[in-house]
Every structure is written in C-alpha cells, then in structure tokens.
Amino acid sequence: MWRLLWAAAALCAGCGTTGTTGGGTVSVVLDIPNAILDPKGYSSVELRLHGATGDLERNVPVTNGTFDLGDLEPMHQVSVDAVLRTDTGQAVGYGRSSTPMDLVAGATLTVPVRRPIVYFAGLISDTNVNTGVTHWTEAPATFGDLSTGTTFDGTTALSGNTVLMVSAGSSLFEVQQSTSDPNGDLTGNATIVPVSTGDHSLGTPLGGALQGAVLDGAGTDDGKLLLVGTTQHLYLVDATAGNAASIADGEFDRVAVVMNSDGSVSAVAVKGRGATTGTCATSAELVWVDVIGGDTTMGMVTSLGMGGFADVASDRGHAYYVDQCKGELGEATKSGLMSKRSMLGRTTALAVSGVQAWIGVEKPGKPAQVALVSASISGSDPPRTLYSVPAVQVVEAVSDPGVQRSMDADTAVFNQLEIGAGGDYVATTVSSHYTGDEIVDANFPKMTVDTDELRVVDASSGAVVQRYRGWCDGTIFPKFNDIPEWQCATETGQSAPAMNAIEHKLGSMTFLFGKK
C-alpha cells in the first residue's frame, strides 16, 4: 500500500517559522511504494516542471528523505517529472505526474516515483530433437532493473505466464492468453492482471475478456485506462472498474493513447500494419479513435489515411507516426496528418518524449542492419544516429571448441522502441533471422537461426547500457559428416539467459512510465 499521507499543515507551520517567504509553501511529494522495490541509493532529485510558457528544472540534494526546492514562482497547469539520482548521476528512480497541477500556495504536488525497470515477455518453443515436433508455450515475463546495474540474465521473472506487458504511468499489467501448440498463435480470450510495482505481486484479474490475439498495448499516465490492440478489436480497458470495451474493429498492431487537453482520451493506432521486410507495403491504415464515455463506452473512428504506417507514439497530448515507405515522421491529429521530418530511411519504430523523437530505422541487406536515430520533431537539425549495427550472430559447435560460424542476418526488424526514466534510457527489441547454407569443406550444415535481442542505450549518447539476447533458436539440417550440434555464442558486452530453460522471445517490452 502506498503511503500518501502528507503533513501539509505541519510543513507549512515549519515554513512559517523560517519567515522567508510571503506567498506560502508548495509541497512536492515523491510517492514511493514503501516496499521492496523502493528506489535506493539516491542523493539528489532532479525536478522538471513543464508549464505552458516554459520549463523549469531544479537539481537539489536529498537529505533524510527531504529536499528544498528554493523559491518558486506560481504556475498553473504544470506537469512534473522527477528523477532520483545517485552521486554519479545514475537514475535510480523516475516518476511523472499524471495530470497537470497548479503550483500555488498550499498545494501539494504528488508524483509517483518508481525504479527504472524494463519488463519483457514472449513465448517459448521447444523442439523434440527426435521427432522434430515443436511445441509453443507461454512463459513468465522477465524484468531487468536498471537501477542496480546488474547484467540482465533472465533470472528475474514475474509470476504468471504473460504474452504482453503494459505499463500505465506507475501501474503495470500483465496480459495473459493461451498459446496454440504447435504454431505459437495466441488463442482464446485474453485477460489482464495488475502487477504491484512495489513488490511484483499479482492482483486480481480485471473483468472483461479480450477477443483476438493481443498485439500491442498502452496506458494512460494515471494508470486508469489501457488500450490493447488485438487481431480483432481495439479495446479500451478501465483498470479501475475492471471492464473492457471494444472501441474499434480490425487488427490493431500498434497503439498509442492520447490525453487531450480537455481531459478526454483518444487513441491513435496502426491498423493492418505491413511487414517491414521486402517490398514496402502501403496498405496500413492510420486511425484516430475518440473515446465516447457514458453508459456504454464506444469509439468514434476517423481514418487518417492509408500508407506505410509502421508505428505510433504520443506525449503531452500530441500523437505521432512513422511511415516506413516514405521515411517520414509526422504528427497525427483527428483532422489529418502533418509531416515533420522526412528522408529518414525505412522508419519502423517510434518513441517520443516532449519535442524529441527516437526512431528505429531498418536497413535491408546482408547483413540486415538496424539503426536508432534521434531527432527533434520540428527542428531542422540533422537526425543523430545513436547506433547503427549490422545483425550478426556467431554460432559455435558444441562438441568442437573453437569452431565458430558467423552468420549475417537476412532480416532484422524492430519489435518495440520505448523511452525509459523520462529520457535517460531508450530500449529496443529486435528480431533477426539468419540462414546459412551448407559448407561442405568445413562440415558446416545448413542452418537457420532466429534471435531476439533487447538493447538498452543511453538516450543522449547511444552508449550501450544492456544488451540481452533473450532468445536464440536454431534449426540444423546436418548431412553425413556435418557437425550436428551448434549453439549461439554471445558477443562481448552481450548477455544471455543464464540457462536455456528461462529463454523466451521478446514479443513485448515496456518500462514503468515508459514513453512510446
């Protein structure tokens, strides 16, 4: 249970004794869970107040759980970001206010703060080597805590089998759904289970069942509403009341939730997203859905057009999209689309924080490459490449130490791109597919390999914080005299699950307070 009590009267009395201000006191409460997942090791707080006319930033020391922000001018309708940092500047806690607040005398601004934890979930397959039959099953979601500096190894997991993780401000949810064995398709109704961000315990599943295989999710900053796209519907889930309502029909592959300035909620989504490999498909539809409340929740759908729409993102009441065929970043509103940046390459993933966008760019070729670039949304400065890497996987012969084969990816595609800790981190997940022909002279068999990798980088420099190859699955076609058994090697700076049993695909990834 969160401890939200705030002795405002006592503090104001304390302030009164200082006799330093004539306008009164404003109090900022950083609300931590008071549980095992509390941020630890911080020595300062960085507070950013976003107002209509500009931003104000304060970086002040924390002493015995309190801090002094000095003097502040009154502001109205401010949103607040808070980052708890260690002496070395590492972010060990981050939080964001869910709604604009007034910075006025006597006000208490409460900002939930949590550790920067990234969660990822996906299926697992197991192939019987004797029969060649593959079985797909769900697996528990894994998480990595960036505040501890521990290398991800897959050993930290949540309870319950999960196919999709959704964050909504400081709230976290598992989406659970059955898997069809042996093809790995999601089947049956999906259910949503709240997860405590204080100790990772599971709550009572929400009422309502989602039809269709779940594809993507997003949540509002106050944790009250979730959007979930499936192969059949776009759902609005009321996490407080515990019900789900379909607000649009169709296959919604990428979704983002927009908090409008009038307090209403809209969704922007990519419907029928095309593959990002091969010829660029312009058959995706970008839709805007206004949520209509009342006795029955429903959506008013506006089609914004057809094109190569590959991803959507939103922040501070604005929605954005990328078009993989045009190489374009643009803003979406109910009344239409407005191109912001172009000539970006094959843009397939997007996350936005404030006026800055992070864009995933896929580069076909052999090996296929992926790049992460950042650009101001409306600026003219050239986009900055944070990384651009070829997808290469080395496999090694199990029984012949030192025998290795380097494979170049045929395809490398972004699955997710999200910003964590208010802009300190950017995380991506990438799926790569490799094929290798038989090399008779070397006794290398024909083989195919599929990998999923999570890469967390410093958002400003692109420096790698974590590289976790959560999934590596190969199929070997050995002939006479070929080396029959192979396993994936890890590169320097890359980690992998500590044991095969905890491997799973990275079909879903999210940060607490993540921005996509």
Partner: protein, 274 residues
C-alpha cells in the same frame, strides 16, 4: 590471432589539431579479395559517432547521396587518394576515412585519412593480424586515435550564464570566469559543473549542472537582496521564451532558471520522499 606487424605512418603536420572538430567525414571500405573483418566500416562509424563530434557518414549514408555506383567507384579507385578524395568532394565531406582489408597470408587492415581539399593522404595506419581476428572496440579506438587529431576526441558543450545583476562574480567548476555579463563558456563535456554567481549585497546563486556533449545549457541566475523581491521581468516564465529559441545540437537546450534566493519568490518549494 597474434598481431605480427604494425605500420604507422602519420604524415607530419597533417594530423594537426586545428581542424574543425565537427567537420563532415565519410567512412568507406575497400576490400581486396578478403571477407575478413566484416562490418569494420560500420564499427568505425559507430565509434567515431560515439567518441567525437564529427559529422560522420558511413558507407550506406554516403551511397544514398553519391549513388548506387559508389562501390564500383571505390573498387576503381583501388585506394588511390586523389580518386577517393573526389568521392568525398561530391558528397561535401572534408575528409575520407578509407578502410582497406586485404590478405597476404595474414589479413592486412589499412586505414587512410584522406584530406579532400588537398586530395592527399594525411595519415595512414596499417595492422597485420593472423587469422583475420576482429579487433575489438578498444583496439579500433586506439587505431583511430593514432589517425585523427587528439582534438577530435575532445568534446564540448556550452554553458551560457546570465545573471540578473551585472558585476556578479561567476565561478564554474571552481574556476573564476569573470564578472557578469560574460560570454557563453565552452567547456569539456560530458561533465558536471558547479556554478556559483555572487555579488556583495545579494544572496549567492549556486547550482550543479550536467553538461552533455554538444549540448547547450542556459543558466539564469536571478540574484536578489535578502528580503527583497525580483522585478516582474526577472520571473522565470518571462525569461523562458527567450531560452527556448536556442536549439542545441544534441538534445536541445536545457534551461536552468533557478531563483535560489530564499526570500525572493512568493512561494517556497519543499519536498519529501515518502
């Protein structure tokens, strides 16, 4: 896997430090019958982008500007400086980093730095490795630091300190920087700096900032007398629009409007973690 031979030929005077640290540099790859050291050019691009402020274009980006026939032209050039420089000239680069991979028993890695205006090799590096072992990032960085001026690996950011009072003494990172008004300071980055602005009769202003590489911070120090109140134009929300027009190269300008005199503002901000 053992390095058996290293050549280093830095032509005197050309690896000079007075070159533009943000100049446009393209990185190209030329292979002579060798598939060793795959993606070496991309790795060099990645390292240069991380370690320097150079405007670096790799083979893909260069191809997008130059045209699909880039690889044919590189092969025709066969590493010859004047020919390669013409590629750089066409894409508007100041320099070309040409990486060559060939095999003469061992795998030979050569890295040439070609000055586009003079069409000459300004620095050249070669390393020979048995088995075509991939040099790790640390080793590649070592190669590049031998090839490029030391100044390329120094990165800077800008702190612009504006005080409400003229004649206030400014101290940044423990060093006196003069009295306000002072010009914007170009400082090594990324780094954190303690800033102090003080003037007799006013509450001193202190803050700590994290200066990102190629970033720009604007710090407004509104000094106030004990018990006094700032004029209306000193309020941060009046000053904010002026700050927002400054566009930073990396991440935009971060605006610090910090009025720290406890008696100046009408509100006192206090906080707790609970």
């Amino acid at each position: 896997m053992t390095r058996v031979l290293v050549f280093l030929c830095l032509l005197a005077g050309l690896a000079r430090a007075d070159v533009d640290p943000k100049r446009k540099v393209i990185v190209l790859e030329y292979r002579s019958g060798s598939s060793a050291m795959p993606h070496i050019a991309d790795r060099v691009v990645s390292l240069l982008s991380k370690d320097t402020s150079l405007n670096v274009m790799g083979p893909d980006a260069t191809r997008a500007v130059y045209g699909e026939h880039l690889d044919l032209v590189i092969v025709k050039c066969a590493g010859e400086a004047e020919c390669v420089a013409r590629i750089g000239q066409k894409v508007g680069a100041a320099e070309v980093i040409m990486i060559g991979v060939s095999e003469l028993g061992d795998v030979i890695l050569t890295i040439q730095r070609i000055d586009v205006p003079t069409r000459t090799v300004s620095a050249r590096f070669a390393d020979s490795v048995t088995g075509g072992a991939l040099p790790n990032d640390q080793k590649l960085e070592g190669y590049l630091k031998k090839l490029l001026p030391e100044s390329d690996f120094l990165r800077y950011g800008i702190i612009d300190i504006i005080s409400s009072e003229s004649g206030a003494l400014v101290t940044v990172g423990g060093q006196h920087r003069g009295s306000t008004p002072i010009p914007a300071l170009k400082l090594k980055a990324p780094a954190s700096y303690e800033i102090r602005v003080e003037k007799r009769g006013f509450q001193p202003f202190t803050t700590s900032v994290q200066l990102p590489a190629d970033g720009e911070l604007r710090v407004r120090a509104n000094l106030a007398r004990p018990g006094g109140a700032p004029a209306w134009w000193q309020h941060w929300y009046v000053l904010a629009p002026a700050a927002l027009v400054v566009a930073g190269a990396a991440g935009g300008t971060i605006y610090f409007a910090t009025e720290q005199s406890p008696a100046a503002g009408p509100l006192r901000g206090v906080g707790s973690i609970q």
